[in-house]
Symmetry: C2
Subunit: 105 residues, 2 copies
Amino acid sequence: MDIQLKRGMLDVCVLTAIKNEDTYGYQIIKNVKPYVELSESTLYTILKRLESAQMLTVRTSEHDGRLRKYYHITEKGLKRIEEFKEEWKEIMLIYSFIMKEGDND
Amino acid sequence: MDIQLKRGMLDVCVLTAIKNEDTYGYQIIKNVKPYVELSESTLYTILKRLESAQMLTVRTSEHDGRLRKYYHITEKGLKRIEEFKEEWKEIMLIYSFIMKEGDND
DNA sequence: ACGGTATACATCGTATCACGAAGTATTGTT
DNA sequence: AACAATACTTCGTGATACGATGTATACCGT
Protein backbone atom coordinates (compact mmCIF):
# COMPACT_ATOMS: atom_id res chain seq x y z
CA MET A 1 0.00 0.00 0.00
CA ASP A 2 0.93 3.66 -0.26
CA ILE A 3 3.55 4.40 2.36
CA GLN A 4 2.36 7.95 2.83
CA LEU A 5 -1.04 6.87 3.97
CA LYS A 6 0.38 5.14 7.02
CA ARG A 7 2.35 8.16 8.11
CA GLY A 8 1.43 9.42 11.49
CA MET A 9 -0.27 6.16 12.39
CA LEU A 10 2.84 4.07 12.96
CA ASP A 11 4.03 6.06 15.96
CA VAL A 12 0.68 5.59 17.61
CA CYS A 13 0.67 1.92 16.66
CA VAL A 14 3.94 1.37 18.44
CA LEU A 15 2.74 3.29 21.49
CA THR A 16 -0.40 1.18 21.49
CA ALA A 17 1.64 -2.01 21.30
CA ILE A 18 3.52 -1.16 24.48
CA LYS A 19 0.60 0.44 26.23
CA ASN A 20 -0.63 -2.57 28.16
CA GLU A 21 2.70 -4.11 29.01
CA ASP A 22 6.36 -3.30 28.62
CA THR A 23 7.76 -5.09 25.63
CA TYR A 24 10.70 -5.10 23.23
CA GLY A 25 11.29 -4.36 19.58
CA TYR A 26 11.20 -7.79 18.07
CA GLN A 27 8.02 -8.61 19.94
CA ILE A 28 6.34 -5.40 18.86
CA ILE A 29 6.83 -6.34 15.22
CA LYS A 30 5.16 -9.68 15.81
CA ASN A 31 2.32 -8.10 17.76
CA VAL A 32 1.37 -5.59 15.11
CA LYS A 33 2.02 -7.89 12.14
CA PRO A 34 -1.62 -8.95 11.72
CA TYR A 35 -2.57 -5.30 11.42
CA VAL A 36 0.37 -3.60 9.76
CA GLU A 37 3.65 -4.66 8.25
CA LEU A 38 6.49 -3.00 10.10
CA SER A 39 10.14 -3.48 9.15
CA GLU A 40 12.88 -3.53 11.74
CA SER A 41 14.56 -0.41 10.43
CA THR A 42 11.27 1.43 10.59
CA LEU A 43 10.47 0.25 14.08
CA TYR A 44 13.80 1.11 15.65
CA THR A 45 13.70 4.51 14.00
CA ILE A 46 10.29 5.07 15.54
CA LEU A 47 11.38 3.85 18.96
CA LYS A 48 14.30 6.26 18.93
CA ARG A 49 11.98 9.08 17.96
CA LEU A 50 9.46 8.27 20.66
CA GLU A 51 12.21 8.07 23.25
CA SER A 52 13.53 11.49 22.21
CA ALA A 53 10.03 12.84 22.53
CA GLN A 54 9.84 11.33 26.01
CA MET A 55 6.83 9.25 25.12
CA LEU A 56 8.51 6.12 26.38
CA THR A 57 11.37 5.02 28.58
CA VAL A 58 13.86 2.22 27.99
CA ARG A 59 15.22 -0.45 30.26
CA THR A 60 17.88 -2.87 29.07
CA SER A 61 17.60 -6.45 30.18
CA GLU A 62 19.37 -9.68 29.34
CA HIS A 63 17.44 -12.72 28.22
CA ASP A 64 19.25 -15.96 27.33
CA GLY A 65 22.46 -14.07 26.67
CA ARG A 66 20.70 -11.82 24.21
CA LEU A 67 20.19 -8.15 24.82
CA ARG A 68 16.67 -6.91 25.09
CA LYS A 69 15.48 -3.35 25.43
CA TYR A 70 12.13 -3.14 27.13
CA TYR A 71 10.05 -0.09 26.41
CA HIS A 72 7.64 1.51 28.83
CA ILE A 73 5.06 4.11 27.89
CA THR A 74 4.96 7.46 29.70
CA GLU A 75 2.13 9.87 30.45
CA LYS A 76 3.18 11.82 27.40
CA GLY A 77 2.91 8.68 25.31
CA LEU A 78 -0.58 7.94 26.58
CA LYS A 79 -1.54 11.51 25.83
CA ARG A 80 -0.28 11.11 22.28
CA ILE A 81 -2.65 8.20 21.75
CA GLU A 82 -5.57 10.27 22.98
CA GLU A 83 -4.51 13.12 20.73
CA PHE A 84 -4.53 10.74 17.80
CA LYS A 85 -8.10 9.77 18.52
CA GLU A 86 -9.06 13.43 18.34
CA GLU A 87 -7.13 13.93 15.13
CA TRP A 88 -8.83 10.93 13.66
CA LYS A 89 -12.05 12.94 13.50
CA GLU A 90 -10.36 15.32 11.09
CA ILE A 91 -9.11 12.40 9.05
CA MET A 92 -12.65 11.05 8.81
CA LEU A 93 -13.81 14.46 7.65
CA ILE A 94 -11.31 14.34 4.80
CA TYR A 95 -12.42 10.80 4.08
CA SER A 96 -16.05 11.90 3.99
CA PHE A 97 -15.16 14.47 1.35
CA ILE A 98 -13.62 11.82 -0.86
CA MET A 99 -16.60 9.50 -0.43
CA LYS A 100 -19.24 12.21 -0.73
CA GLU A 101 -18.00 13.27 -4.12
CA GLY A 102 -17.81 9.69 -5.20
CA ASP A 103 -21.52 8.91 -4.94
CA ASN A 104 -22.09 9.28 -8.64
CA ASP A 105 -20.18 6.25 -9.80
CA MET B 1 -3.25 18.59 13.25
CA ASP B 2 -0.37 16.26 12.58
CA ILE B 3 0.76 16.83 9.02
CA GLN B 4 1.86 13.25 8.58
CA LEU B 5 -1.59 11.89 9.08
CA LYS B 6 -2.90 13.68 6.01
CA ARG B 7 -0.19 12.33 3.79
CA GLY B 8 -1.45 10.26 0.96
CA MET B 9 -4.94 11.67 1.33
CA LEU B 10 -4.29 15.08 -0.19
CA ASP B 11 -3.57 13.75 -3.66
CA VAL B 12 -6.86 11.91 -3.64
CA CYS B 13 -8.63 14.95 -2.23
CA VAL B 14 -7.46 17.06 -5.13
CA LEU B 15 -8.44 14.39 -7.63
CA THR B 16 -11.85 14.19 -5.98
CA ALA B 17 -12.25 17.96 -6.19
CA ILE B 18 -11.81 17.94 -9.95
CA LYS B 19 -13.62 14.69 -10.53
CA ASN B 20 -17.05 16.08 -11.27
CA GLU B 21 -16.04 19.16 -13.22
CA ASP B 22 -12.88 20.74 -14.54
CA THR B 23 -11.70 23.39 -12.17
CA TYR B 24 -8.67 25.48 -11.28
CA GLY B 25 -6.28 25.77 -8.36
CA TYR B 26 -7.72 28.66 -6.46
CA GLN B 27 -11.20 27.16 -6.66
CA ILE B 28 -10.00 23.77 -5.46
CA ILE B 29 -8.66 25.32 -2.28
CA LYS B 30 -12.05 26.90 -1.61
CA ASN B 31 -13.88 23.67 -2.38
CA VAL B 32 -11.93 21.52 0.00
CA LYS B 33 -11.58 24.16 2.73
CA PRO B 34 -14.53 22.90 4.81
CA TYR B 35 -12.89 19.50 4.91
CA VAL B 36 -9.17 20.13 4.90
CA GLU B 37 -6.88 23.13 5.03
CA LEU B 38 -4.74 23.22 1.93
CA SER B 39 -2.11 25.90 1.31
CA GLU B 40 -1.39 27.19 -2.16
CA SER B 41 2.17 25.94 -2.19
CA THR B 42 0.97 22.49 -1.24
CA LEU B 43 -1.77 22.45 -3.84
CA TYR B 44 0.37 23.53 -6.76
CA THR B 45 2.99 20.99 -5.78
CA ILE B 46 0.33 18.32 -5.80
CA LEU B 47 -1.13 19.44 -9.13
CA LYS B 48 2.31 19.29 -10.72
CA ARG B 49 2.82 15.82 -9.29
CA LEU B 50 -0.54 14.56 -10.50
CA GLU B 51 0.12 15.97 -13.94
CA SER B 52 3.48 14.21 -14.11
CA ALA B 53 1.75 11.01 -13.10
CA GLN B 54 -0.77 11.58 -15.91
CA MET B 55 -3.67 11.58 -13.52
CA LEU B 56 -4.90 14.87 -14.88
CA THR B 57 -4.53 17.12 -17.90
CA VAL B 58 -4.21 20.89 -17.99
CA ARG B 59 -5.84 23.49 -20.18
CA THR B 60 -4.93 27.16 -19.87
CA SER B 61 -7.72 29.68 -20.20
CA GLU B 62 -8.04 33.42 -19.69
CA HIS B 63 -10.66 34.85 -17.38
CA ASP B 64 -10.96 38.61 -16.83
CA GLY B 65 -7.37 39.15 -17.85
CA ARG B 66 -6.19 36.63 -15.32
CA LEU B 67 -4.64 33.33 -16.24
CA ARG B 68 -6.43 30.22 -15.16
CA LYS B 69 -5.31 26.64 -15.52
CA TYR B 70 -8.19 24.24 -15.66
CA TYR B 71 -7.53 20.69 -14.62
CA HIS B 72 -9.26 17.64 -16.01
CA ILE B 73 -9.09 14.19 -14.46
CA THR B 74 -7.95 11.22 -16.54
CA GLU B 75 -8.78 7.52 -16.38
CA LYS B 76 -5.62 7.03 -14.40
CA GLY B 77 -6.76 9.68 -11.93
CA LEU B 78 -10.14 8.00 -11.48
CA LYS B 79 -8.36 4.70 -10.96
CA ARG B 80 -6.22 6.30 -8.25
CA ILE B 81 -9.35 7.28 -6.33
CA GLU B 82 -10.64 3.72 -6.51
CA GLU B 83 -7.27 2.42 -5.37
CA PHE B 84 -7.44 4.72 -2.39
CA LYS B 85 -10.77 3.26 -1.37
CA GLU B 86 -9.17 -0.18 -1.36
CA GLU B 87 -6.20 1.04 0.63
CA TRP B 88 -8.53 2.63 3.12
CA LYS B 89 -9.48 -0.84 4.31
CA GLU B 90 -5.90 -1.38 5.42
CA ILE B 91 -5.91 1.98 7.15
CA MET B 92 -9.04 0.98 9.04
CA LEU B 93 -7.33 -2.24 10.07
CA ILE B 94 -4.50 -0.24 11.59
CA TYR B 95 -7.04 2.02 13.23
CA SER B 96 -8.85 -0.98 14.68
CA PHE B 97 -5.60 -2.10 16.30
CA ILE B 98 -5.19 1.24 18.02
CA MET B 99 -8.79 1.25 19.22
CA LYS B 100 -8.88 -2.40 20.21
CA GLU B 101 -5.96 -2.01 22.58
CA GLY B 102 -7.45 1.13 24.00
CA ASP B 103 -10.58 -0.44 25.47
CA ASN B 104 -9.22 -0.53 28.98
CA ASP B 105 -9.12 3.18 29.66
C1' DA C 1 -5.88 58.44 -6.69
C1' DC C 2 -4.38 55.31 -3.27
C1' DG C 3 -4.26 51.31 -0.39
C1' DG C 4 -5.83 47.09 0.81
C1' DT C 5 -7.85 42.75 -0.28
C1' DA C 6 -8.96 39.02 -3.35
C1' DT C 7 -7.72 36.38 -7.30
C1' DA C 8 -4.27 33.28 -9.53
C1' DC C 9 -0.10 30.82 -10.20
C1' DA C 10 5.06 29.68 -9.29
C1' DT C 11 9.51 28.42 -7.00
C1' DC C 12 12.77 27.34 -3.32
C1' DG C 13 14.32 25.30 0.69
C1' DT C 14 13.49 22.60 4.72
C1' DA C 15 11.89 19.10 7.98
C1' DT C 16 9.80 14.80 8.58
C1' DC C 17 9.70 10.11 7.97
C1' DA C 18 9.27 5.00 6.11
C1' DC C 19 12.18 1.76 4.45
C1' DG C 20 15.67 -1.15 1.99
C1' DA C 21 20.31 -2.61 2.63
C1' DA C 22 23.79 -4.04 5.29
C1' DG C 23 25.96 -5.17 9.57
C1' DT C 24 26.83 -7.32 14.49
C1' DA C 25 26.02 -11.03 17.65
C1' DT C 26 23.86 -15.01 19.89
C1' DT C 27 20.86 -19.19 20.08
C1' DG C 28 18.42 -23.01 18.17
C1' DT C 29 17.81 -26.43 14.44
C1' DT C 30 18.94 -29.63 10.69
C1' DA D 1 28.82 -27.16 9.61
C1' DA D 2 25.11 -24.55 7.67
C1' DC D 3 21.19 -22.02 8.22
C1' DA D 4 17.24 -19.89 10.35
C1' DA D 5 15.56 -17.23 14.12
C1' DT D 6 16.23 -13.79 17.59
C1' DA D 7 17.61 -8.95 18.63
C1' DC D 8 19.31 -4.47 17.85
C1' DT D 9 21.88 -0.70 14.89
C1' DT D 10 23.28 2.55 11.29
C1' DC D 11 23.23 4.74 6.69
C1' DG D 12 21.32 6.64 2.75
C1' DT D 13 17.42 7.71 -0.12
C1' DG D 14 12.95 9.11 -1.86
C1' DA D 15 8.56 11.15 -0.98
C1' DT D 16 6.20 15.15 0.30
C1' DA D 17 3.63 19.04 3.06
C1' DC D 18 4.41 23.63 3.78
C1' DG D 19 6.17 28.31 5.00
C1' DA D 20 8.24 32.08 2.72
C1' DT D 21 8.51 34.75 -1.07
C1' DG D 22 7.50 36.52 -5.57
C1' DT D 23 4.73 38.00 -9.83
C1' DA D 24 0.63 40.09 -11.75
C1' DT D 25 -4.17 41.70 -12.23
C1' DA D 26 -8.91 43.07 -10.58
C1' DC D 27 -11.99 45.11 -7.29
C1' DC D 28 -13.59 48.14 -3.60
C1' DG D 29 -13.80 51.65 -0.10
C1' DT D 30 -12.37 56.26 1.24
